[in-house]
Amino acid sequence: MIDIRRAVLVAAVLTPLTAAAAQQAAQPAKQPDAPQPPAAAVAVPGTVTCPAPAPPATLPARSFNAPAGMLMIPVRSTRVADFDKFLGYVRDALAKTTDAGLREQARGWRFFKLAETGPNGDVLYALLADPAVPCVDYGFLPILNAAIQDAKQLEEVWNLYRNSVTNGGHLMNFVPLTDSPGGGAAPPATPQKR
């Protein structure tokens, strides 16, 4: 009786496995899905679609896709002096850079400290980029990295930023109205590769 019950149990287990194996053998080996091109984004008038970078590169996280834009950066009220000091290093780096692309970016940069505070009493800074260079990185670290050779000093400067901001900021793209005050001053957005 024991042998019969064991045989039934083994058969019950093996039957579906065998059937599945037979079914799999009958089908051609499934190939992994070929990568699909991303769905075409709907272009907003006045903006550009940044060209897809060649793998493994990725688009910079902090970039504009319009002729102008603004980055709002919330800074802890207790760290305003540190952030101002950090901006001093950024300005210094931009002033010294020989990189043509960075110099082009720097031409349109303005930093403002807003009179009103943000949530939690954060002090808000606005980086206005007008004109902005579309599709290039507006991150601070590459700028500082190129200007500050000493790794320890770079870390100290970067910590001024890291410890003063409450998040990475919020980026907005602006499309200039041509038929308005100041209209036509900014060139149309053109994707830049760097």
Binding site: R110, D130, L177, P181
Partner: protein, 168 residues
């Protein structure tokens, strides 16, 4: 950019409610016959975000064109400087919770003492009929102000460290 756009909306939602409504933005809500209200700024820069009624973008842009023409025609000594420092942008994505189109005015540099009241600038160079037409156009297009940010250039701030020597 999809991630960024999410951040933008999230950021706008986070930041915008903390600012007070601009009297500047309420220009269109003022009756045409009310006493002129000056809109003066004392900071280097003013950034105001306006919400426009959906489908009225063309009307709002016509208002902006009228404003530009009015500043260009104005004989006020400060008008040309105002015109040069006042830019209007459209946000590719709505910055308001309700999805209404958003326009951004960037005034930099501010002409201290100059009146930035849009209605009054246009009225100053308009006939009565033109005033009424402008008032109706503006009132129909403008939904309201989302936020106004005023600030000073950090580069000229006394708290900024001296470049180069201070940084090394």
């Amino acid at each position: 950019m999809r991630r960024l756009s999410g951040l933008v909306v999230a950021g706008a939602l986070m930041v915008l409610p903390v600012f007070t409504l601009s009297s500047h933005a309420q220009d269109a809500a003022q009756p045409a016959a009310s006493a002129p209200q000056k809109t003066l700024y004392t900071t280097d820069t003013v950034i105001t975000i306006y919400s426009v009624n959906p489908g009225k973008e063309a009307d709002y842009e016509k208002v902006m064109a009228t404003l530009r023409d009015a500043l260009a025609k104005s004989t006020a000594p400060e008008a040309k400087a105002q015109l040069a420092g006042w830019k209007v942008f459209k946000s590719p994505k709505p910055l308001s919770q309700d999805g209404s189109p958003s326009y951004i005015h960037v005034i930099n540099p501010v002409v201290k003492g100059a009146d930035y009241n849009i209605v009054q600038i246009v009225y100053a160079v308009s006939s009565d009929d033109e005033k009424r037409a402008f008032y109706d156009l503006y009132k129909g297009a403008l939904k309201g102000a989302l936020s106004q940010m005023v600030g000073n250039d950090v580069a000229t701030s006394a708290s900024a460290p001296a470049p180069a020597t201070g940084a090394q």
